[in-house]
Each structure stands twice: as C-alpha cells, then as structure tokens.
C-alpha cells in the first residue's frame, strides 16, 4: 500500500457465498486509473454484456481511485457501476461521504459482486476479511433505519444500504452511504436489491501510503490555500450546491414546470441556497477530509413537512421537487428529499417522473382513475408525499411510475413520451440546454444518459472555471449558441471525467488548479503523468464506455435531445434559443472519432489502446 492503491480487489459471489480477492497489474491501473473507468474495463473483460440488469449475471461494482483515503481535499468519492436497469446501458454513479476511504483502509480498492443470494444478506468487510451475514433484521427497513441498526452493533463501520425502493427494484433506486450521501443515478439500488444484498459495511485501520510523502505534504498545503482563495468554494460552503439557483434563474439554467416555462424569480427566491441557509440550515457537513463542507444539514421543526435533522436537498432536488413541479415551499422540498433518502430513490428521476405525471394529468393523458384518484395538480405536495411512498412500495399508480418516466410514458401512450425530458432513458439533470447549448451536447453524449457529472461542461460554459493550461478556452462563453461547443464538450469530458477515475469531487476539480490535481496524483501514485497523459486517460474512459454502449446497441439514433428542450421557451434568458443538435453532433463526432453510425472508430480504439474493444465491435 505504497502508491495510493490498496493492492487488491474483493470478488463476492452471492450465489455461492464465496468471497475471494484478485489483483490488477500496474500497467492496467495506469490505463484506467480507478473508479468507474476501471469498473468498465473489468465489465468488458469479465462479464456478459447482454445479461439482464436485474439478473444474477449482471455484476455490481464498487470502485475506489488511487487518491481515495489519501486525505487530499475532495478525495473521498467512490464509484458504483453496473448495467443500468433504468436505461439498459452502462450505468454508474458516484458519491462522496466516507465509504470509499474506509473500504481502502479495510484493504480493498474495489468490490465486484456477482450472483444472487438465496436470502437477504449484508456484506461485511473488516481488515482484509469479508463475510456475508443475514439481513433478516434489516430487510424492509428504510435506509436511515438500516444504517442505525448496523451502526448500533459497531458505530465505527461505514455503511452502504438500500431502502424499500431498491428491494422492490424501482428502476431509479439509490444507495445511501451513512444516511448522508447517495449513489443516485441509473438505478443501481435496484441491482443491489435484485441480488438480495441489503447493505455493505466496511471497517479498517490500514492507512494507504503515498510514493512521495514530502512532495504530497507541500501540494496539500497548496490545495488548501487554493480552496481558501476560491469564491466558488466559499459559495459552496455558505450555500451548498443550491447557490446556483439565483444565478441559474437569471441565465436560463433552471427548468420550470417540466421544462415548459423560462423564468420565475419568485420561485427561485423561495428555493435558493441563501433562503435555505437562512431558514432550515442547522450546519454544513463535509465528506471525509473535505474543507469545503458543501453538504447541508437541515431540519423542519414543525408543520406538515416536519423532518428530523438530516441531509438537506441539493440544487437538483430543489428543482425537481421545486421549480419543476411549481412548488415554492422549501419545507416540502426538504421533506420530499428526506422521503427519497429513506426509501432510497434518486431525487432527480423521482422528481422528474412526478413532474411528467403532473403534466400528463393536466393534458388529460392520465385520468384520475389511472392515478388512483390522486390530485396531480401542479405543486400539490400532499400528493407528492403520498406518491413517493407508492412508488417505493410499487403500489397501484406508483408501480407504473416506479419503472421510470420513459416506461411510464410508454404505458400511457398517445404522445406522452413528448413530455419526458431524457437522453438514453435517463432523466435530464436540472440544467436547461436552451440556456447552455454545450450542456445539451454533453447530455446527448454522456455515456450513462443525460448527465451533468461525466464532464465539466457546466463549469466551463457557465464560466466557473478557467483552465487555459489544459486547452484553449474562452473566458466567457455565450450559452445560447451551438458554435464551438463540440470542442468545449470534448475537452470538458476528457478532464471532467477524471473526477470519476481519480475519485475526486467535481467541485474540487473546479476549485483547484489542474497542476495541483496532477501533482497530488503523481505524488500519491508515483506515476509521473503530464496533463496530456491525464487527458488521454479521460478520453480512453469515455471511449471505453461508448464502446460498451455500442455493444449494447447505442448508435447515432440515441444521441438526441428530447422534444422538451428542442422547443423554444417564450420567456427567460433562454427564450427563443434551442441547441442545433445536428451541428453539435456532427462536429463532436468528428472530434471524438466516431463513425457516422455513432460507433467508436477502429483508429480511435487503436490510438487509445483499447484493442480488446476492437475485437468485440468489429469481429
């Protein structure tokens, strides 16, 4: 454990109950680094890509990067990956918290889980040992209750757990880390549930080493100084990610009324980061070793939406359960967030499917009877609270919505699908491509479906970062043009995606100079990478996942934006503007080396050393 890596990975076969370990050679680590990139490499090598996402044959992977556990700011993130039950293609999600560092202290860089347990189990990992224990006491309980039960036995363990939604295979189920951090996107909680795996716990005391401790100490000091000097970090600390709400409403970033309204300053004022800070915030909370502390801890002390003190909503959640459904009651957003956390559901997709249901009801596509006679009027938060429970338990109308917005729209027929904002089956995050065309392209091309975290397009296009040392950048981009955005997205992917393989928080990527990130990575691993080496790893990561998706049937036909965001808004900063999808895609394909059919080209695969994919794609 001298180079940031623990040196081994845990293999768990839930069908047989056998746990073993394996290693990965340094050459492969240098190619894929870690996190979801390494997971994709293992997935391609070892598994049947055509397996049903909820079958025993679909692996669920937990992956650290080499910086996890180092103590470097923002290095607590870990990735989880599997074929997604929500989209049917490559699925991954990451979160901060404390599980990743603890897994490394327990002796593992990652876990590969296959098979299906005959009964509900908990995977317990302690200092190089893994065992499966009965989850009979926890099954049926929500994420908070499960975490409390497990920590009552040993308060020092770190917990990953699913709630009723994961058990019931809700297609957008999440996985919670210690009640405060969530693997939200692409429905990986359902994969865990399908394996009868209720929770994973980790406990260890082996501090990961660094190749160059002295150099690392100096870089660490530089990083802390850069964070102290960063207005972006300060805004995150003071207001959390929801600091973006006020500015976003002004610039056309915030979606309203299921993507149909362009501006509502009254709503944003009631739902913004400053308002949250002034009303319900009790304290800021940090992931392991992070000085930024962007997480919100909140409480609603009384009224119909009373909550216990716990994790507060992110910006995305303030949109999905706020602006998207025309709700300006921040207490209700906090309650919806708490319910999603407890049931174990992604707050983006849960809110998005509710917004779609409300609009379909308004248009008469969903009848009152079909909706179990729930009042689906915009902003009816009583209905929202009821509906979240019905979705998690798959009851009645909730069972239809539990399959996700695309499936629900297909169920209701007519032109219902036109009311769903998704790419490749994943609901759009809460950033409107009509205000920022580059984000539209990033959504189109993200490998897990519409995503704001597989790249740094938002930071670059919205002007939060300036990285002239990495690539040619404008200081101030016009969001409402598609010209030049293909290059921006390409560059932003190659650097931003590294957050997922290094396991470094995207916010910290934004706060720190790239040379500080590179030098810390080198001091820990001893790899001696230049910027270009890192950017090639980023390009390889993107290309590998695209190739996997090609094998799963993804082609040019899937690289499209939904009708919702190709319809111009009448008001707001994005009024009259829609992304030029053809221009964006054509330019991007040329830069990325995709064939006109959307396949990764042989030439690009050879350039990036992905010959194993060449054999499978072009046999």
């Amino acid at each position: 454990m001298q180079n940031g890596y623990a040196g081994k990975f845990l293999d768990v076969d839930l069908t047989s109950g056998v746990c073993s370990s394996f290693t990965i050679d340094e050459a492969r680590l240098k190619k894929f680094i870690g996190g979801s990139s390494l997971a994709a490499s293992l997935y391609l090598e070892r598994f049947d890509l055509q397996a049903d996402p909820l079958s025993a044959e679909n692996p669920l992977m937990v992956m650290n990067g080499p910086m996890v556990g180092s103590g470097f700011p923002g290095s607590s993130r870990f990735a989880m990956a599997a074929k997604s039950p929500q989209t049917g293609i490559w699925g991954e999600a990451a979160c901060g918290g404390n599980f990743g560092p603890e897994l490394k202290r327990a002796g593992y860089d990652g876990i590969v889980i296959t098979g299906k347990s005959p009964h509900p189990v908990i995977l317990s990992i302690t200092n190089n040992q893994a065992q499966l224990d009965s989850a009979a006491d926890c099954w049926g309980k929500d994420i908070y209750e499960t975490t409390d039960l497990l920590k009552a036995v040993d308060k020092n363990i770190k917990v990953l757990a699913i709630g009723p939604a994961g058990e019931n295979r809700v297609k957008f189920s999440s996985i919670g880390n210690d009640k405060a951090h969530f693997i939200g996107r692409t429905g990986l909680g359902a994969v865990m549930g399908s394996k009868n795996l209720k929770a994973i716990t980790a406990r260890g005391n082996q501090a990961p080493g660094k190749v160059n401790e002295e150099k690392y100490k100096a870089i660490f000091k530089t990083a802390i100084a850069e964070i102290k000097d960063s207005a972006f970090a300060e805004s995150l600390h003071l207001m959390g990610s929801d600091a973006a709400m006020d500015l976003g409403m002004m610039t056309g970033d915030v979606p309203i009324k299921n993507w149909s309204v362009g501006e509502d300053f009254e709503l944003s004022s009631r739902l913004s980061g400053p308002t949250l800070t002034e009303t319900y915030l009790t304290k800021a909370h940090a992931c392991s070793n992070c000085p930024v502390a962007c997480k919100r801890v909140v409480i609603v002390k009384d009224g119909p939406y009373r909550t216990e003190e716990g994790p507060g909503p992110e910006y995305e959640t303030c949109c999905t359960f706020g602006t998207m459904i025309m709700n300006g009651d921040l207490a209700a957003v906090i309650k919806a967030n708490e319910l999603c956390n407890r049931y174990g559901m992604d707050t983006i997709s849960a809110g998005a499917v509710v917004a779609v249901a409300m609009e379909l009801s308004e248009k008469g596509i969903i009848s009152a009877a079909a909706a179990d006679n729930l009042n689906l009027a915009w902003g009816n938060m009583e209905t929202v609270m009821t509906l979240l429970g019905k979705i998690a338990r798959r009851e009645g109308f909730g069972d239809i919505l539990a399959n996700g917005s695309v499936s629900a729209a297909t169920h209701f027929g007519a032109d219902a699908i036109d009311y769903v904002a998704h790419v490749k089956g994943l609901d759009l995050p809460m950033h409107d491509p009509r205000g920022f065309h580059g984000m539209g392209l990033a959504y189109m091309m993200s490998n897990r479906g519409a995503c704001h975290l597989q790249h740094a397009a938002m930071g670059m296009e919205q002007g939060m970062v300036s990285w002239p040392q990495l690539f040619a950048m404008q200081e101030d981009y016009d969001g409402k043009t598609s010209q030049g955005k293909a290059q921006l997205v390409f560059d932003s992917e190659n650097y931003g995606i590294l957050g997922n393989s290094l396991s470094l928080c995207h916010y910290l990527l934004y706060c720190l100079k790239p040379e500080t990130v590179r030098d810390a990575f080198n001091a820990i691993t001893g790899f001696d990478f230049e910027f270009n080496d890192l950017l090639i790893c980023g390009a390889r990561d993107w290309t590998l996942k695209r190739g996997i998706n090609n094998l799963l049937g993804i082609t040019v036909k899937d690289d499209v934006l939904p009708k919702k965001v190709l319809t111009a808004l009448a008001d707001g900063a994005g009024a009259g503007s829609v992304p030029d999808m053809q221009l964006l895609r054509d330019e991007y394909y040329a830069i990325r080396g995709l064939t006109p059919e959307g396949l990764v080209s042989k030439k690009k695969l050879r350039e990036l050393g992905l010959e194993e994919l060449t054999d499978k794609l072009y046999q």
């Binding site: 207005a231 913004s272 919205q462 002007g463 939060m464």
Partner: protein, 141 residues
C-alpha cells in the same frame, strides 16, 4: 454623445445618473442595502500608474455617494471588490461576466457572498448601466 475618462469623478457621476434614471434598476434593487468599493490594482503598462479606489453606495433602489476616494474610504465599503485593470475593463465592457470573474478568481470579493448571490440581478443591472456610459479607458488614450 459625451465621453468620460474611466475612473474619474465625472465618469462616476455619469454612471450614477444612468442608475438613478433606471426604473428597472429601482425595482430590481429595492432590497439592496449598502456600499460597494471597487479597487483597481495599478498597471503602469496600461496607463494606470496607481491603484484606483472607487466608492459607490446604494440604498433600496436609490443611489447615494459615488466617489473617487482613497484606500481608507474604500475599506469602509460593505463589499469590496478588487481586481486587475484588464479584468475591470472586461467586466465594464461586458466581455466578462462579473459573477464568472468572481468564480474564476479574476475579481476578489470581501463581504457577504450570500447577500451578493441573492442580489445577483442587482449587480448585473448596475454593470449593464455602466456599459451605457461612453467610456475612454486609460490604455485606449
């Protein structure tokens, strides 16, 4: 149309007048309270031999003192924004958004960032109105 040399009292007065005449500003800024000091670092290569200190004061949609001042007065501002000449010129000409400049570290803010975020529309409007002042910049002379 009259032109004004940047960073002079006449230039500040013209800017103040633009703001005072704007009904839209009055509405947007109805909740804003307090002064903003603007500090431009010296840049002899751009004909800015010494630091420039400006004091601008706003109160619920009205404008109060707009002064070229000394460092001591600037330090009394409720908010103090500091940056290099080239950055200020970019911001004043709307070539670089003020919020982006702040996030990228090209301008530094001393003061309550939460208040600024909540009132970002006010700040943008004040800068919009500055672009309406016909300005001669020191390095354009």
């Amino acid at each position: 149309m009259a032109t004004y040399n940047a960073f002079t009292q006449e230039w500040l007065d013209a800017w103040k007048q633009k703001i005072a005449e704007s009904q839209e500003y009055k509405e947007i800024a109805k909740d804003w309270e307090g002064s903003v000091a603007l500090i431009c670092n010296a840049d002899p290569s751009k004909n800015v031999p010494n630091p420039v200190y400006l004091f601008t004061d706003y109160w619920h949609g009205d404008v109060r003192d707009f002064l070229v001042c000394d460092e001591a007065k600037a330090q009394t501002g409720k908010f103090i924004m500091t940056g290099d000449y080239a950055r200020w010129k970019q911001v004043a000409k709307k070539e670089l958004d003020a919020t982006k400049a702040l996030m990228q570290g090209k301008l530094k803010l001393k003061g309550d960032l939460t208040y600024v975020v909540r009132n970002v529309k006010t700040i943008n409007k004040v800068i919009d109105l500055l672009t309406e002042v016909n300005t001669v910049w020191p390095d354009d002379v």
